[in-house]
Every structure is written in C-alpha cells, then in structure tokens.
C-alpha cells in the first residue's frame, strides 16, 4: 500500500482545481512537490516530479522513501510452555500445572508475557462420602503499552517521503500539506518503556457431600478477582510540525472481579431401564469494579525509572470511580433416559439481576428437550448400514442482561436510575469537554467551582431480554460409524432486545435511556459430516466438514427504539430487515460523459468521473430519501473442513474455514480509492488507476482534492465480496515416545504448526483481508514448533 509519490499527471485530469494548485506550486516556497509538466490544462502531461532537497522549512528532513510498515513491523515470536503434574488415588486427587507464554508481537516492541499456575486438589473422607477440594488459578500478564492502533494507522497514512529521522537525529514527521498524524516509529520508541501489570486470582473451594447413594449436595465458593496496574511516561517530542514540549506520567490501578457462591443438589436414580437425574441449585454472583488514577507533569528526566508520581512537579491530577452488579439464580433440572432410547429433560431457571427494574429483577426461563435414539429400535437395527440414529428436539428460553448481538454492552449497571454526575472536566482534544466546572470568578486558573450534569435517564421497567429457541436435530452414524454427522435446524426469537438508542438532541445531555425494544428472529441450519477412514493398521485419517447458514430479521420494532437502527425514522425502518443491515446509497458507476452528467438527477457535486448515485425514489434529485438497505450484513453461509491423518508416529492436521456470500464494508477504500476523503495521507496505488477521459474503463472515481460529491457517504461503492477461505491451522507432528521409551516417557510429541498460512479471497475485494475490513489489528500468520511431553 505504499506509493512513493503519486504520479498524478501521467494522464489527463478532470479536476481543474488540482491543476491550478499544481501550477501554483511552481511559485510557492514550501509546498513539497514541484511538477515539471507541459502547462496544458486541456491535455496535461507530467514530465517529472521534482523533489525538494528538504521537505520542511527548517531543512532537517530529506525526502525519503520510507516503507512505514517495515519500520513498525517485525516477525513475531511466540513461546508457550506448559508443565502439568497430576496424582490421584482413593484419598484424593491433585493436579498442578505451570504455564508460561511469551509473545513478541508483529508490531515492534509489542510484547506480552503471561505466567499461569493452576492447582486443583480434592480430598475424600468417609470412604468418599465427603469430598472437599479447591481449584486455584493465578495469572500474571505483563504487557508493553504500545499504542498499536495509532501505530498501525500512522503506518497506513504517513507519507513515504517523510523520513523516520531528521538529518540531525531527531524524529521525522509530517510536513506542510500532510496529515497531522504521528510518526509511528516515534510512537513505538517513545512508548516502549510503558508497561501494564495484570494479576488475576481465580479460585474456589468446594465441598461435595454424598448424602445417600446418588444424592450429592455440593457447595462452591469462588473468587475471581484481578488487578491491573499501569504506569506510563509520555515523553516530549518534536516530529515534523507536531510537537509537545511537556511530559507526563500517568498511573492507574483497576480492581475488579466476582464473588460467586453456588449450591447444588443432584440426585441420580437408576430404575432398571430408566435412568433419572435431578439437579437443583442456586448461584449468586457479585461483581465489583473500582479504579483510580493519578498523573503529574514537569519531569526533570524522561526515564521510566524516574517517572513516578512523586517526581512530577506540576499539573497534579487524580480521579477514580466504581461500579457493581449482582446476580442471583435458582435452577432445577431433571433428565430422564429410558433404555438409552428415549431421552427427556426439563430445566427451569429463575435468574435475578440487579440491573433491572424493581418488579422485573427476576426472569423465568424454562427449557425442555426430547431425544429418540432410533438406532436402538428393532426396525432400524435391521438396517445394518445404520450404526447410530438419533432425533432431537429442544426448546429453551434464555435471558440476557449483558451483551448484544454485536458483543457490545447493551445495558449499564444502573440503567434503571436517572443519574447525575459531577464531571469536573474531560479531555477535550477530539471531543467536546463534558465538564461541569467553570471559571465563574474570571481568575483564569485554580480550582474551579463545579456542578452536576445528567448522565442518563432511568427506565424502571427494564427486564430481561429473552430468547426462545427451538432446535430440531438429527445425529447419525453409518457403516459402523465410518460416516457420522448431524443436521440441526434452529429458530431463535429474541424479544425485548436491550438497547440504548441515540436520542433527539433537544433532550440534552444524559438523554440516553435503555429500553427493552424490538424483537428479532434468527433461523438457520447447521450440518456436520465426518468420514473416519482406516487404510491400514497404522494409517488412519478423518475428514470432516461443516456448513452453517442463518437468516436474521427484525420482527418487531416499537416506536421508542425505531430510530436506534439505520433508516429514516418514518418510511424506512429496520423492521423486516437483518439487524446487521447497512443503510445507504446505491452507487451506480461513474459519470463518464458530460451528457450523463447533464441528464442525470440533480446531485450536488456531480461531475465527470464522479460516482453516480441511484435516484431510488425517482424524484429527480439525489438526497437522503434515496437510501435503502444495501446489505444485510450477513454471509450466505460459513463452512469448515477438517482433515486429520496419522501414519505410525506421524500425524497431520489441516483445518480450513470459510465464509461465503458476505458483503463487507471495506473502509480501506477511503485510503486506496480516494485522494480527497483523508487528505494529506499516503494513498493506495489504486488511485493511480483513477478514472480519466483517457482511462475511461476505470471504476475508481476521478482524482480530486475535495470530496464535493460526498463520496465518503455510506454506499454500495464500499461494499465488496467478503468471501474467503482460510487455512486456519496446519499441524504436522511426530511422536518420539518409541524412541524415548528408555526414559519412561509416556508421550513425547513434536509438532510444527502454522496458522492462517494461506487465504483465498474474492478478486473483487480490493484490500488484503476481507475478515478485517475495518482496519483492526491484522490477523497474523503464525508458524510454531511445539513439544508435548508427559511422564
């Protein structure tokens, strides 16, 4: 994606403004590029681009050809070690493991190391009637705090002409006419001293009493707490036209976790062919988060060993807050099996959450399932090729009080309350200060009087979001289980979807209110087929494939959440569409002749080589009413293919995974297809193929410096085929146990593994990875060597 500079004049341009600017740069003294061209506005031809001796007025940055991704990237090294010991007997069992994980990331200086210790023990008393034990887990994670998002974005948009370093050994950085984003190499270097320390203890103690045969009473008390400590030094810098003479040390501590108490009573009963199994239980969870931070400025030395809060001399700040919720559940379950032929189970849960309204804290969620093992019936047993056949039906309701479909939190801990907060001041760099302090006396500095502002509107009728699912399934095995598989059909109806929609601005700050809003339906089919082959005694293989597809649509949309989803609030609503739908304009190619421009619907900013949008309502003008649902946001189907092979001590495993028929919104097009939407950045090479009268077959809009046609609007221009097939995993192993039998090794397997080694994507997808169309952290290819030992 690197272009040293754009040869923008090798073909005629349509944008007069661009030409006029280029012409003007002849006389300017600090525009970076100068152009040797024929000065013909009708048929411009570029002879060469003249680079200056220096790109900055201070004459410290020579034109470079920096490959920013090379500057920030490295081959990562991941190490993972695990040792486990276990011991068992009549009086108890113990398990002990130690693990160490070390990941030097693909961005330079990124580094995570993690150590885990697990200890599980249990003790039996009274001949096994009472079992007491514990599970104990500790985790330590140490992370380098490199601002990876900014680094990757900086590498994407920083111009290659910018050098990493100046001629005087300082940092290179953006020069006139360039985007105001940081030199990503500097971000890495200036942050590599910053680390976080995370510790987590997960443990529980349990007692299991076998009251009478088959009846167990178990109580478990668990603790799951973690702490995160960060100390960061922000150094002063000069980097191109960006600079900050101040430094800052920030220190923060976050403490959060759960206390969990679970009590269960289970009873197993065998009555000949009938097997019964009962469970009754109760669980309570209490979650708590508290945190605080401090920061100071004015450090005499910019060294992490010095950068403690005490050493700072100015701008002494601190802050902190907390939050909590609790859950209380009661549940019961009964399983019944008759002759391994008929299987039935019933579950009833009653879940309570502190997040809901006074009268709706509890939700009741029943479930039931039926199974019929046909292969146990005589009439099937006659069909010798069938080795297993089972029909299943399940119905269940579940409640949700946490996360939405997209994984975003849908309800705050205190959503039932109307709340105010004292917000002294917030960081106003990119978003407006939301603070409540004001220099009312006009003194210009010092502690200010401060007030309160509404932060949310409560909704005391909030209740559990609930999903009712019906599932029909068929499991089968053929030819003595050589072929096995399953098919499932499901219908899921979710009601009372928790959502906090945007709101009419006149309501003012704190207008956000959480609702139980609409309903949606998901239905789909999942199928799995496995073939288990044996070629010779030492030569086995299995092939397994799965395919899944689902359809989603919103089935109910009350007016209070109508505007929470894409649409126009009146005639176009998400009702009946997929909840993941994209709403926007339909791009109908480019204007390729003046006649087309003149005869099309009125469209502000239209012109030769510009995107033509469809006049969907046919009113002769392109405006917001010409939007529609341009993608349902879901793939047609997803699939996977597993292949395992073993030959004597060798084994081989392959796992392919794919997505088919998805339309993804490729945000990279802002950088690869337009010279106007993110000005001053390093554009992709696709712009070199932009439309012009002499490049008339191009589908890439003509070059322009200003997006008058608003081509950054949500439209089908950005939608691309997101289908892909990836080799997620390839593993080749060899077991040395025979060779090492002498030293009493049970198992000693060495293996070579590769993740994401190759991918097939649609040609029409113009960025690199359709799985990552939004510029998130790249999904790396990983190769690793492993050794599993057990004694």
């Amino acid at each position: 994606m690197n272009v040293r500079y754009l040869n923008i004049l090798t073909f005629p341009l349509v944008d007069k403004l661009l030409l006029q600017i280029i012409n003007r740069t002849q006389v300017n003294n600090n525009q970076i590029y100068k152009f040797d061209w024929n000065k013909s506005f009708t048929n411009p031809v570029l002879n060469s681009v003249i680079l200056p001796n220096y790109i900055d007025a201070a004459q410290t940055m020579k034109p470079a050809n920096t490959n920013w991704f090379d500057e920030i990237g490295e081959t990562s090294l991941v190490q993972n070690y695990n040792v486990a010991f276990s011991n068992g007997g009549e009086r108890g069992n113990s398990f002990f493991s130690v693990g160490y994980y070390d990941n030097k990331g693909i961005v330079k200086e990124t580094h995570t190391n993690k150590a885990t210790i697990r200890l599980n023990t249990d003790y039996s008393f009274f001949k096994g009637i009472l079992k007491v034990g514990e599970n104990f887990n500790t985790t330590y994670i140490n992370d380098k705090l490199i601002p990876v998002g900014d680094v990757l974005f900086g590498a994407l948009v920083q111009n290659p002409i910018v050098p990493v370093y100046t001629t005087t050994g300082g940092w290179g950085g953006p020069a006139a006419g360039m985007t105001d984003r940081q030199n990503p190499a500097r971000l890495i270097e200036d942050n590599k001293q910053n680390q976080s320390y995370f510790g987590r203890i997960t443990g529980n103690a349990f007692a299991d009493l076998n009251v009478v045969p088959g009846l167990h009473l178990k109580t478990t008390f668990g603790i799951d707490y973690d702490g995160l400590y960060e100390r960061t030094l922000r150094k002063s810098y000069v980097s191109g036209f960006l600079s900050d003479p101040s430094n800052l040390t920030a220190n923060s501590q976050n403490f959060d976790g759960n206390l969990i108490w679970q009590n269960t009573l289970t009873y197993d009963l065998n009555l000949g062919k009938s097997k019964l199994n009962f469970l009754a239980g109760q669980e309570s969870i209490h979650y708590l988060n508290q945190n605080f931070y401090g920061s100071r400025q004015g450090y005499a030395i910019e060294n992490i060993n010095y950068a403690y809060l005490d050493a700072g001399s100015s701008n002494i700040l601190n802050g902190g807050n907390g939050s909590a919720y609790s859950l209380l559940s009661f549940f019961g379950k009964a399983n019944y099996t008759f002759d391994d032929k008929y299987i039935a189970s019933v579950t009833l849960r009653r879940d309570g959450s502190s997040r809901f309204g006074e009268n709706n804290k509890y939700g009741t969620f029943p479930a039931a399932s039926l199974g019929w093992r046909l292969s146990q019936e005589e009439f099937i047993k006659k069909l010798l090729f069938i080795s297993d056949l089972k029909l299943r039906y399940g119905y269940g309701q579940t409640g949700n009080q946490t996360y939405g479909q997209a994984g975003n939190q849908t309800i705050g801990n205190y959503a039932t309350y109307t709340l105010y907060s004292a917000i002294y001041g917030t960081d106003p760099t990119f978003t407006a200060d939301r603070g409540t302090a004001y220099d009312i006396t006009g003194s210009g500095s010092g502690t200010l009087p401060s007030g309160f502002v509404k932060i949310q509107q409560g909704n005391n009728s909030l209740k559990w979001e609930s999903t009712k699912e019906s599932n029909f399934g068929l499991d089968f095995g053929l030819f003595d289980q050589k072929i096995t598989g399953s098919v499932d059909y499901f219908v899921k109806n979710t009601t009372g979807i928790l959502i906090t929609p945007g709101y009419l601005a006149v309501i003012g700050e704190g207008g956000a209110q959480t609702y139980n809003g609409g309903s949606m339906q998901n239905k789909g089919i999942e199928a799995l087929l496995t073939y288990d082959g044996k070629i010779a005694k030492d030569f086995n293989f299995t092939v397994s494939g799965n395919i899944a597809t689902f359809r989603n649509k919103v089935t109910y949309l009350p007016s209070n959440v109508l505007t929470a989803y894409a649409g126009n609030g009146t005639t176009q609503t998400i009702l009946g569409h997929s909840i993941n739908s994209v709403y926007g304009y339909v791009a109908d190619g480019l204007f390729t002749s003046q006649a087309q421009v003149d005869n099309s619907a009125a469209q502000p900013g239209k012109g030769l080589g510009r995107i033509r949008y469809k006049d969907l309502n046919g009113d002769g003008k392109i405006d917001a009413n010409d939007q529609t649902y341009i993608s349902n946001g879901n793939p047609n189907f997803t699939y996977g293919l597993n292949f395992n092979l073993s030959y004597k001590n060798f084994d081989l495993a392959l796992f392919f995974q794919g997505v088919q028929g998805s339309q993804v919104y490729n945000m990279y097009k802002n950088y690869t297809d337009f010279s106007s939407i993110w000005p001053g950045t390093n554009w992709g090479t696709r712009v070199l193929d932009a439309w012009s009268p002499t490049n008339a077959n191009s589908t890439i809009p003509a070059l322009t410096l200003v997006d008058r046609n608003n081509e950054g609007r949500t439209s089908t221009y950005y939608l691309e085929n997101g289908s892909y097939l990836k080799l997620r995993n390839l593993q080749i192993g060899y077991n040395l146990k025979n060779a090492l039998r002498a030293i009493k090794i049970q198992n000693a397997r060495v293996y070579l593994q590769g993740n994401n080694l190759f991918a097939i994507k649609s040609k029409s997808y113009t960025a690199t990875d359709p799985e990552n169309p939004n510029g998130a952290y790249p999904i790396p290819a990983i190769t690793s060597i492993g050794l599993d030992l057990s004694f």
């Binding site: 007069k16 300017n28 600090n30 006139a176 006419g177 036209f241 960006l242 600079s243 101040s246 009590n263 920061s295 700040l317 807050n321 909590a324 609790s326 209380l328 309570g352 205190y414 309350y417 105010y420 907060s421 001041g425 106003p428 990119f430 407006a432 409540t436 302090a437 004001y438 220099d439 009312i440 006396t441 006009g442 003194s443 210009g444 500095s445 010092g446 502690t447 009087p449 401060s450 007030g451 309160f452 509404k454 009419l504 601005a505 006149v506 309501i507 003012g508 207008g511 505007t563 609030g569 009146t570 502000p604 900013g605 405006d623 106007s676 939407i677 993110w678 000005p679 001053g680 608003n710």
Partner: protein, 571 residues
C-alpha cells in the same frame, strides 16, 4: 438430621435475602432530587455556565465557522480543501447538505447547553426565595444563558424547537421546529433577556456572570435582529422602527451605566493579560492550571495556530485576501467601500506603500509582520500550511503568543485559556449606530462610529518592528461630513457596515450581519466572483438566495423526530 436443618436454614436465608442481594446502590453518582438544596442549585448554575466552554475543534461558541468562514472574511484553511471537508461545504455553500455532521454536532451542543440552563432553572423556580435568597438573580442568569443559546440557534437555523424549563422532558419529542414563527422565536429570546435584565444586579463580583447591563445589551442585539423583518425567501422586507427605537434606548442604558468603555488599545481585547477589561460586556471565561489536564481552554479556536515549530498545527480559519485588502484606507484615511481589491496587498512593501487601518495587524498575521505584537516573533511564509490554495495569512485575534502564560498545547492541537468576548462594548456602540442610521438619524450615529474609528487610529503602539518602526503604514481618520465625506443615510449605512467588518473581522459575526441586512446573496456572490480569481477553489462556490441564509435542519434530527421536524427551504 441436624445437618439437614442447618442446610435448609442456609438456603432459606439465601432466599429471604434475595431481594436485598440484588440491591446495588449506584456508585459515584447522584440522584436528581438530591440536587435541590441551595448549595447544589448553585452548582447546577455553574454546570450551566460550564457549557459556554464545552466546545470542540469544530463547534466554536464564537461561531467562527459559520459567522466568519461563510462571510468572505475567512477561508477554511488546513492542509487542503478536503481537510475538514464539512467546512469546505459551508464555505462554498453549494455542497452543504443536511447530512453535514458538524451541523448536527453544533445543534446537539447548543441543545445540551440549553438543557443545562433549563435544568438549573426548574430547580430555582421550585425553591423559595427564603431558602434561596439568590433565587431571582440566578433565574436571571439562567434565562440570560438560555437566551444566548436560543439566539445562536436562531441565527444559525432560523426556526428551531423552543423548549423552556416548564416543558416536561417526556414532551420534548412533540415540539416541532416550526411550532413558532421566526418572529415569535425572536420574541421568546427577547423575553428571556428582558426577564434577566429585571432580575440581575447592576454589578457582579464574579466576572463570569452577566449583570443587568449585559442582559440589556443582549436584548438590544436581539431586537436589532428582530427589527429586520424577513419574508419566506429571507428578503428583508422592512425594518421595525419601534424596535429600532428600543435598541437605541437599551444601548443608551448600557452606555450610561458608566461600567464600560472602549479599551485604550484595540489589541487589548485579544490579549489574555487584559481579560475582563472595560470593553468586555460578556465573555466566555476559559482557564488552565485549573485541575484538568489541559485546562478548560478555548478548543473552538484550537485549529487556528500556524505551522511554525512553536505551534505546529493546524492553520485553519485563514483571513481572506479580500479581508486584507479591505483594511486599505484612502487618502483621507477612510475605508474604501469599493475598489479595494484593485490590487492585492501581499508583500511587505505593499503594506508600507499604501495606507491601512491598524486593525489589520491586530487581526491578520502577514508574512514579515510580528506575530501577536512580538517583534522578534515574525510571521513567515513557511508558517502557512497550504498556501497554494489559501494564501499565506493566519488569524490573530483568537490566538496567543507561544510564550504567553495562557498558551496550552493539547497535541496535536493547541489553544489558550484566553477569554473569548461574546459581547464587546464596541458592538453595543455600533448596534446603536446601526439603529440610528436605520431610523434615519445618521448624524447621531456619526460620533459613535467616529469614536470606534478614533480608538482604531490610536491602536498602533503595539504594531511595531524591532527597530521601532510601524509594521504597516497606518492612516485612519474619522468621518468629517463636508470635509472628507457626505454623511447621508446611505453613506452612513455603508460606513457602519464597513466599520463593523473592520472592527469585528474574524470574530464570528459577519455572516449573520449580512443575513440581517438582507445582502448575503449579492455580497457573497460578488466576493466569490472576485476572490475565485485568486483562490480557484472558490470557483464552484455559490450562495443560493432563499436557502443558504440558514443551515439545514440536521437530517439526523429530522429522523430522530420521526418526521416531526420540517426541513428549511431549499435543502
């Protein structure tokens, strides 16, 4: 057996306490009904004031992106036409659409501010004077703030939803932007200022609070705008003489209060050291070293700083060549109403070989001229970011010198804790002059305009090079009917309108003046015709009469209102 009893008791205990188990008291927050004590009501008042400074990069409460950039006084600037392209859409008008995200942001910001004022006001209304002796004064303050925000909404969008403290939040979504006519809205704004003027004390210890005269001044401004009656196409079809008479009376009350005066030097209005001086009628009080990381600084002007190492970003809000030329004075030391663009002043010598109003060097940073009155800190060509597009100038009134204690970096931006004047006394004087001229009493306006000009003429002492010589060749004279001019109503009107431009250039007023006078279309289209020769990016710019006088209602809000809000004409 005992064991079972114990267990059952445990379980029962859990069941009994299950309601309590799910009781979570909100942490670190406060409920509405706890905020009705006198102390907390006073704090709610502070929170309402706080909103005056809660701007971001793009939503300056000075309104410069709407008032200066759309007026022919300022270009957008930045690293190209596409940098903050929403502003380019404002500046060139033709591509400005109802989806412009900054229009929506500003709308939301102003209603956020209003909600704070209404919230405080409702609490004040409901407490007794006995419990809260400041009741009336605080009501006045909050209604003043509310008037200020509705005034801003009014000049930006014309017709907006009007909501006061008596409207329950649940009814907000039933109030349309067209529920009131333009004139009714003006009356509502005026009523708030009228109430405030009656409720407020004549002086305030806290410099951030308005007093009686601040409210009277804003009332004068409101009535002046209301006096120009617009038809549906935004043509000015009449000027309400009785309102003009009120404007004169109100301005006189402010003038006769004796609390205000023009600063000795024009530049004092734009220096942190002279904050809250005699000319300040109402200002946003910014601060730093105030317990926040960067200070509660003027983010609305944070993009105005040039590209030299002492600053570094982002060079927006750039004075136009037309503005620079307009500061030329003729042989009599009077402004040139026409013809000032015949030759562009750009080079150092151009500013010495012709005569200029000194306000030029208080307003515009020019290559070779000291920046912010510092002779050793000279503005250079290289401080400009995209001179091929926008020329070389930079804005001065809204920035501070890099060594000024109020300067604050907030990477990649920078700004300062310098106050921003929403009403300067000079404005009050010129409102009165304008009203008098439109009342056909131009002779009474003459001394007022001359007072402002005389101050300008006296404001040269800060404008010197290292050798003590003046940076430009300054020559400003007062209007002397019969000597250097013929002071007719028409001439006086031109003089007043030119004087307002010189005095308030880059302060966020100009576009609204043009719309008030009903000349925005002719003025701006002729500006585009002449300026686009020098700045080709303006060649596609066009002001559409009957549409571009006001912003479109944000599509977002129309959608959130489920179609209740009606779009402004032409969008």
């Amino acid at each position: 057996m005992k064991k079972y009893i114990l267990l059952i008791t445990c379980l029962l205990a859990t069941v009994v306490s299950c309601k309590k188990a799910l009781d979570e008291q909100p942490q670190g927050v406060i409920a509405s009904d706890q905020l009705n004590t006198p102390t907390n009501i006073d704090k709610m008042v502070i929170a309402a004031y706080s909103s005056l400074g809660n701007e971001n990069l793009h939503t300056s409460n000075s309104l410069w992106p709407w008032g200066s950039m759309r007026s022919g006084d300022a270009y957008k600037g930045g690293d190209g036409v596409g940098d903050n392209s929403e502003w380019n859409d404002y500046e060139t008008f033709v591509t400005n659409q109802n989806t412009n995200s900054l229009t929506d942001q500003m709308w939301a910001q102003l209603y956020n501010n209003l909600a704070r004022a209404n919230n405080a006001l409702l609490r004040i209304d409901n407490i007794s004077q006995a419990n809260y002796p400041l009741k009336t004064a605080r009501q006045g303050e909050m209604r003043f703030l509310r008037g200020n925000y509705y005034f801003m909404l009014k000049i930006l969008w014309n017709r907006v939803p009007y909501i006061d403290e008596n409207v329950p939040t649940t009814s907000y979504d039933t109030i349309s932007n067209v529920a009131y006519t333009s004139d009714q809205l003006w009356t509502k704004v005026a009523n708030d200022f009228r109430f405030a003027a009656n409720a407020l004390p004549t002086t305030q210890t806290d410099k951030g609070r308005p007093n009686k005269y601040t409210a009277l001044a804003y009332l004068a401004k409101t009535l002046l705008y209301q006096a120009y009656t617009q038809d549906n196409k935004y043509n000015v079809i009449g000027i309400d003489q009785s309102k003009l008479n009120q404007v004169v009376t109100l301005c006189d009350s402010v003038i006769n209060s004796g609390q205000y005066a023009l600063a000795n030097d024009f530049g004092q209005n734009f220096l942190t050291a002279n904050e809250n001086g005699p000319e300040s009628v109402f200002a946003i009080q910014y601060s730093k070293n105030d317990g926040t990381q960067f200070g509660r600084i003027d983010m609305g002007h944070s993009l105005s700083y040039p590209m030299n190492p002492a600053y570094g970003c982002c060079w927006q809000h750039i004075p136009s060549q037309d503005l620079v030329n307009s500061f030329k004075t003729d042989n009599n030391g009077l402004p040139m109403f026409t013809g000032y663009n015949s030759k562009d002043a750009t080079q150092v010598n151009d500013f010495l070989s012709q005569t200029f109003d000194p306000r030029l060097d208080h307003t515009v940073a020019i290559p070779g001229h000291p920046f912010k009155y510092e002779p050793y800190f000279v503005y250079q060509n290289s401080w400009a970011r995209a001179p091929a597009i926008y020329g070389f100038y930079s804005s001065l009134k809204d920035v501070v010198a890099a060594d000024d204690p109020s300067f604050q970096k907030i990477p990649p931006f920078m700004s300062s804790s310098k106050n921003w004047e929403l009403i300067r006394y000079a404005d009050v004087l010129l409102w009165k002059a304008e009203a008098l001229i439109e009342l056909n009493r131009p002779l009474e306006a003459l001394p007022i305009i001359n007072m402002v000009r005389q101050r300008a003429a006296n404001s040269t002492s800060k404008l010197k090079q290292t050798d003590g010589s003046f940076t430009s060749n300054y020559k400003v004279n007062i209007y002397q009917p019969g000597v250097n001019c013929t002071w007719t109503q028409a001439y006086a009107r031109q003089a007043l309108r030119t004087e307002r431009r010189m005095e308030f250039a880059m302060e966020g007023n100009r576009f609204f003046d043009l719309v008030r006078w009903g000349i925005a279309d002719t003025y701006l289209n002729s500006y585009f015709a002449s300026e686009s020769i020098k700045r080709p990016y303006l060649s596609t710019a066009k002001f559409t009469k009957g549409r571009d006088e006001y912003l479109p209602i944000p599509l977002n809000q129309i959608n959130y209102s489920k179609g209740l809000y009606k779009q402004n004409p032409g969008f």
